[in-house]
């Protein structure tokens, strides 16, 4: 394996990413996370809570708190930041150039892993740089100890981030996980890891919480604070009273702990190299043309052609043959000027445009998807509670919704449609298609609530049916990627399903038989605001084109 090539690959990929505007946003998010990890003394929000206590804001405490917050959230969120390294090579065609060089597949995968890790490590680096500033800002201790600040990042944050970097490579090489399904799967996997990683018996020491917690309890006991039934809590929580303080000067990691940390890197390397067994090196002939369009199909005519060309066993001179097609030689083309008239209707054909947008929204969705959606709908008619299956019905289409607002960019149609009249109508038709789609997938609870005259429930359902596609459209238009909606929606849905009424957009959190969440009117108002945002962003982009 050529180390120079490997490093060159990783550095080039890293440069390409950090020069995108989105990278600045991820660094800002890291700064925000550092602020969140060190709340003010009077705050009721906390990330690290030892049974009602926290450490005085010394370098050791702030370093550990921000490092653990980074480990916790960057592990989950960082995946979505870095998961496009191989997909981008495929889209831009760089992958095919690399495939024709002597660069080995393991070296390529390792290069992508390193690049992923560099991006994540740079985010952790921003956390580490923000930490001393937060220490000085909070003003409880002005003795900045760089070692106490930085060691937690090295032993707590970086090891799980290595796993995230490797998982991103792995996911991109598995056809099913490469699509939006991978985003959903990772959300589940990382949630499970987040829970398990904090436990006392977490594999490989998890986030390293146990060693820190043990040391904190010892410090508390030394300071005469009872440690009995004082649980260690990591994660954003709200407490009734601001936390009391104790002095903690950090912990010294032992050999076993460091060995466990090292194993994270070994495991990450193995995970990143595993796809060498099946990775196709961008050979279009090994691509599934029937797979979902996301990240597989072309973003441009040339790309689509390349994809098609690769899949074509034998194309005629006129290119009329598809894969495995054997059609007769085509006759002459461009036979003359079209004679039929192109008449505009008296009214704008909104319904046909809506039908077209529905077709585009649902393009390429497999019959298995529809079958599962139909099963959920049928089951929704027979459950004891009308809204019991609504969360399932409204998580299943998450990958379809995430196409809203992104498809014309993703498939390279911006230039073409930019010369078409009245772009706002197209956007409204796209939104309407999203609403229709949402309504169809959640029709069973609606019918049952209407039959039972549960009008508050019907109202909440209506608000949700409008909100979800509006959120998808706004995020899709603003961010031009599926991922942001997929992650945001998963988090909101997860909170709603877990009974957080404040974000219940479906009306599933009930109190006294009625929806306990936001009023339907408020949800609808937010939805319309989001549509307005989408419209404004697209109009502004058009104005500054």
């Amino acid at each position: 394996m050529n180390a120079r090539a490997l490093i060159a690959l990783a550095v080039a990929d890293f440069r390409e990413r950090v020069r995108r505007p989105a990278y600045a946003a991820t660094l800002l998010a890291a700064v925000g996370l550092a602020c969140l990890a060190v709340p003010s003394a009077a705050s009721h929000w906390t990330i690290l809570d030892v049974g009602g206590y926290r450490g005085v804001y010394t370098s050791a405490w702030i370093g550990t708190a921000t490092a653990l917050a980074g480990a916790l959230w960057l592990t989950t969120g960082g995946f979505y930041v870095v998961r496009d390294a191989i997909g981008r090579d495929e889209r831009t065609g760089v992958g095919r150039l690399l495939a024709a060089t002597s660069l080995s597949t393991p070296a390529y995968l390792l290069g992508k892993f390193l690049s992923n890790f560099l991006v994540l490590a740079s985010m952790a680096g921003v956390l580490a740089l923000t930490a001393p500033l937060m220490q000085l800002a909070r003003g409880e201790s002005f003795a900045v100890d760089p070692v106490a600040l930085l060691v937690p990042f090295a032993v707590m944050t970086l090891p799980p981030l290595a796993l995230t970097a490797a998982a991103a490579v792995l996911f991109e090489t598995v056809p099913l996980l490469r699509s939006g399904v991978g985003n959903v799967v990772w959300f589940g996997v990382s949630m499970a890891f987040m829970m398990a990683g904090q436990g006392p018996h977490a594999p490989l020491g998890g986030f390293g919480v146990r060693q820190a917690a043990d040391s904190m309890r010892v410090a508390m006991a030394d300071q005469g604070i009872s440690v009995r039934s004082r649980d260690f809590s990591l994660g954003l929580t709200m407490v009734d009273e601001p936390l009391r303080t104790f002095r903690w000067d950090g912990f010294t990691p032992d050999g076993a702990f460091l060995g466990g940390r090292l194993l994270f890197f070994v495991l990450a390397l193995a995970l990143a190299l595993l796809p060498a067994l099946w990775f196709g090196r961008f050979d279009p002939a090994r691509r599934l043309l029937g797979a979902p369009a996301e990240g597989v199909q072309a973003g441009s005519a040339h790309g689509a052609a390349a994809a098609a060309e690769g899949a074509q066993a034998a194309g005629s001179a006129h290119g009329a043959a598809g894969p495995a097609a054997a059609e007769p030689q085509v006759p002459a083309l461009f036979g003359g000027v079209p004679a039929s008239a192109a008449r505009r209707g008296r009214a704008f054909p909104f319904w046909r445009l809506l039908a077209g947008e529905l077709r585009i929204l649902a393009q390429g969705v497999s019959r298995w998807w529809w079958l599962a959606a139909a099963a959920v709908t049928v089951a929704g008619f027979v459950t004891p509670e009308p809204t019991m299956l609504l969360p399932v019905a409204w998580i299943w289409p998450v990958l379809i919704w995430s196409r809203l607002g992104t498809q014309r960019v993703e498939h390279g149609l911006d230039g073409l449609l930019g010369a078409y009249p009245t772009p706002s109508r197209g956007l409204l038709a796209e939104w309407a298609a999203g609403v229709v789609f949402t309504a169809v997938t959640g029709v069973a609870p609606l019918v049952r609530m209407a039959v039972a005259a549960d009008w508050p429930g019907v109202g909440a359902w209506t608000g949700g049916a409008i909100l979800v596609p509006s959120l998808a459209l706004a995020l899709g238009v603003a961010c031009r990627t599926h991922r942001v909606f997929q992650v945001v929606y998963l988090v909101v849905w997860y909170l709603a399903v877990n009974g957080v009424a404040a974000v219940d957009y479906m009306g599933v959190v009930r109190s006294g038989g009625s929806p306990a969440g936001l009023s339907a009117l408020a949800v609808a108002a937010v939805a319309l605001l989001l549509v307005g945002v989408a419209l404004a962003v697209r109009t502004a982009r058009h104005a500054t084109r």
């Binding site: 369009a293 005519a301 194309g315 598809g322 209707g345 046909r352 230039g415 010369a419 009245t422």
Partner: protein, 311 residues
């Protein structure tokens, strides 16, 4: 300048159009063009600013300064006035890969506001025209590059445009398709504004009655082919040189063609004065004109003729 269009004859005017991208790159520099019915071939090297100019003319990109008028209406502020009668084929464009050609065109017809009946007829006719009737039900993701290009041509003609802007349209077409497409453009140009950009001289010389040459964002020349040819008349030479002399000739002259023969290397070069060495004067073609203008090696007469550019 007369701004009153003739009855039924569309006019598209670009007045001092400039486009400066973020970072200061001046892609289009004070270009003025007036287009009536007919085909204007926009010729220029890669990176000359042709595509930027085409996007500006098609209302996709907003110029940094300057005006674009369609039948007297400012389409920078009111783009729909042009978009409703425009057919635009960008150099690079995408498709929805799971839609068939028929579905895709049907969607675009709805965006254009065509009536259902009219759209149906028009799509069938266009699919036949570009010979995709058989493939019309197959997902676009399975089309070859040439087939996609033909879908692009069909969508540009969908609403029977008065103005047709096609950017490097023959990329991906085979030689026979190129010839037929050029003929189609020529036929369409009878009563429409057709703006065709390319860096391939042969795409233009057989159909364009009007040629504009651009480089480094500027309009360098505009004229009928015979006018442009006259400007380099007597400045094109052919000579046979030994391999050792070729490098020296390359340094001194713009070489438009090189052919290795048994007697040596036969070179076609541009020079205002006889280059010596037994060179014989030959009849210029458009490729010579193009190279002379782009490389700035033509005589003073050419530069003076440039004063007429943008008429």
């Amino acid at each position: 300048m007369n701004r009153t269009p003739l009855q039924g004859t569309p006019t598209l005017e670009l007045e001092h159009v400039t486009k400066v991208y973020k970072g200061g790159k001046r892609a289009v520099d004070a270009v003025s063009l007036r287009l009536g019915a007919g085909l204007l071939g926009l010729l220029g090297p890669n990176g000359a600013g042709k595509s930027s100019l085409m996007r500006i003319a098609a209302t996709v990109t907003r110029p940094t300064s300057g005006k674009i008028l369609f039948d007297g209406t400012d389409v920078v502020s009111r783009p729909n006035a042009l978009r409703e009668v425009l057919g635009y084929l960008p150099q690079d464009f995408g498709v929805y890969p799971h839609l068939s050609a028929r579905e895709f065109l049907s969607y675009l017809a709805a965006v254009k506001g065509l009536s259902a009946r009219s759209a149906r007829r028009r799509i069938e006719e266009l699919l036949e025209l570009v010979n995709l009737t058989e493939a019309g039900r197959r997902p676009l993701g399975k089309y070859s590059g040439g087939m996609l290009r033909r879908v692009g041509i069909a969508q540009a003609l969908l609403a029977d445009p008065k103005v047709l802007i096609v950017d490097e349209p023959t990329a991906g077409l085979d030689p026979e398709e190129r010839v037929r497409f050029r003929t189609l453009l020529s036929d369409l140009a009878e009563d429409r504004v057709v703006l065709l950009s390319t860096h391939i001289v042969s795409d233009i010389e057989s159909v364009a009655s009007d040629i504009a040459i651009v480089a480094r964002g500027r309009l360098l020349r505009r004229g009928a082919p015979e006018e442009l040819l006259r400007e380099v008349d007597g400045q094109v030479w052919e000579t046979v040189a030994g391999p050792a002399e070729v490098a020296a000739l390359r340094e001194r002259y713009v070489i438009s063609r090189t052919v290795r023969t048994a007697d040596g290397v036969r070179l076609r070069l541009l020079s205002a004065t006889p280059p010596g060495g037994g060179a014989v004067r030959v009849t210029p073609d458009l490729e010579d004109v193009y190279l002379a203008v782009v490389n700035g090696s033509a005589g003073q007469s050419l530069r003076q003729a440039g004063a007429g550019a943008g008429r």
